[in-house]
Amino acid sequence: MTIVDFQDVHRAYTRDADVLAGVTFSIEPRQVVGLLGKNGAGKTTLLRIAMGMIEPQQGSVEVFGVDPRHEPMQVKRQIGYVSEEQILPPYLRVDQIIALHKGLFPTWDDDLARSMIERFATPGRQKIKTLSKGQARQVALLCAVAHRPGLLILDEPAGGLDPAARREFLETSIQLLNESGTTILFSSHYMTDVERLADRIVMLHEGRILIDTELDDLRENYSLALVQPDGRVSRERLLALDACLGVRERSDSLHAVFELEPARVEEVLHRELGVGNARCTRIALEEMFIELAGGQG
């Protein structure tokens, strides 16, 4: 069964300014999808639509086969949600927050909750407001996963955390993948985290999907070409090539991303534009992000 299905989702907060301008993709069981995009690309809006927190103005969303706005309880019981902006009640103690969540979810797994508390080494009697950012996020994660949800939605879960706390967070996510085969949809600006966790990435740009591909395909079938601009080569002529996804103009060269492996890009540039001195390389996710997000104008 498809876990999440976005169909032509549109959403604007003010007239004539679409945050999402027709997003269509679906997520199958056990997939781990990394949602990428610049600030303002529409990532948070899309995740909130999946949670049923806001409604699409056009198009539809289904989670576990139902509309989260129509069956909020049924959907929410199967989802775990953590976001950077989430605020836990500051004057409650850790054990009180956990008890609160336990009451909400019939499938709550006490053993999992206990093992996570032990690993985090956060005393249960401590008040939320006295916790560090990293500790508070760990408590939020515990509350989001101890009912063993079929779908985990993480909106910038590692935002504002130090590298050690981020790694802890990743380790917990991987433990869940190992034990429960949870499906995960998460947004992140940390490309190295995305590479460790995701098997598929969806990149949003100005409310639309720019790339939707398996992470490994991205690195094996995409490349970056550095070309000297001259009479034969310009941004427009590069963009006119079939496999060219974006061109970024730098002071002394053009950076073009292609959906082809490097050797093929060299061939295409030579054949189509007569360029013989282009440097074509494979591209890591972070560079890909910068080139594409910055090269779309």
Binding site: I174, T192, E195, R196, L197, D216, R219
Partner: protein, 142 residues
């Protein structure tokens, strides 16, 4: 067996893992019959997605380097490889092509590439000997 994974490299993580396991087998650090760390354990250890480890193991199994026994685990294969020689050659073509075009770009001559290959081969061989792995007669394999 310890592996090192670098996120952010241009090489996909499953390929980094495949390369390190292959090197460990070629260098004798992993021997036929040795048991590999389970997929789940390795995912937890390296903090990478379990699917990524599975992909690396599946590929290596297809190459005939390891085999999985249901309920027992994954082991380094005893026989070299069930792939036929034509397939083996095909698999090697890509890296060879890459090596040669890199050499050309760097202005390294073909003769120098050959002598480099011989050097690396000797290194691998002495690594193997120092681990006292039974020698083959040199007529097959590198």
């Amino acid at each position: 067996m310890q592996f090192v994974i670098t996120a952010g490299s241009e090489l996909p993580i499953y390929r980094q893992l495949m390369r390190q396991i292959r090197d460990a087998i070629a260098g004798g650090r992993l021997r036929p019959g040795d048991r590999l760390t389970s997929q789940r354990e390795l995912a937890q250890q390296l903090v990478i997605a379990p699917l990524t480890v599975k992909k690396a193991y599946d590929e290596l199994e297809r190459e005939g380097l390891i085999r999985t026994e249901r309920g027992r685990g994954t082991f380094v294969a005893v026989a070299a490889s069930p792939l036929d020689p034509t397939q083996q050659r095909q698999r090697l073509q890509d890296p060879v092509r890459q090596l040669l075009s890199r050499a050309r770009l760097a202005g390294v001559s073909f003769a120098e590439v050959i002598s480099l290959l011989e050097e690396v081969r000797a290194e691998l061989q002495s690594e193997r000997e120092s681990r006292e792995v039974p020698q083959n007669d040199g007529s097959e394999g590198v």
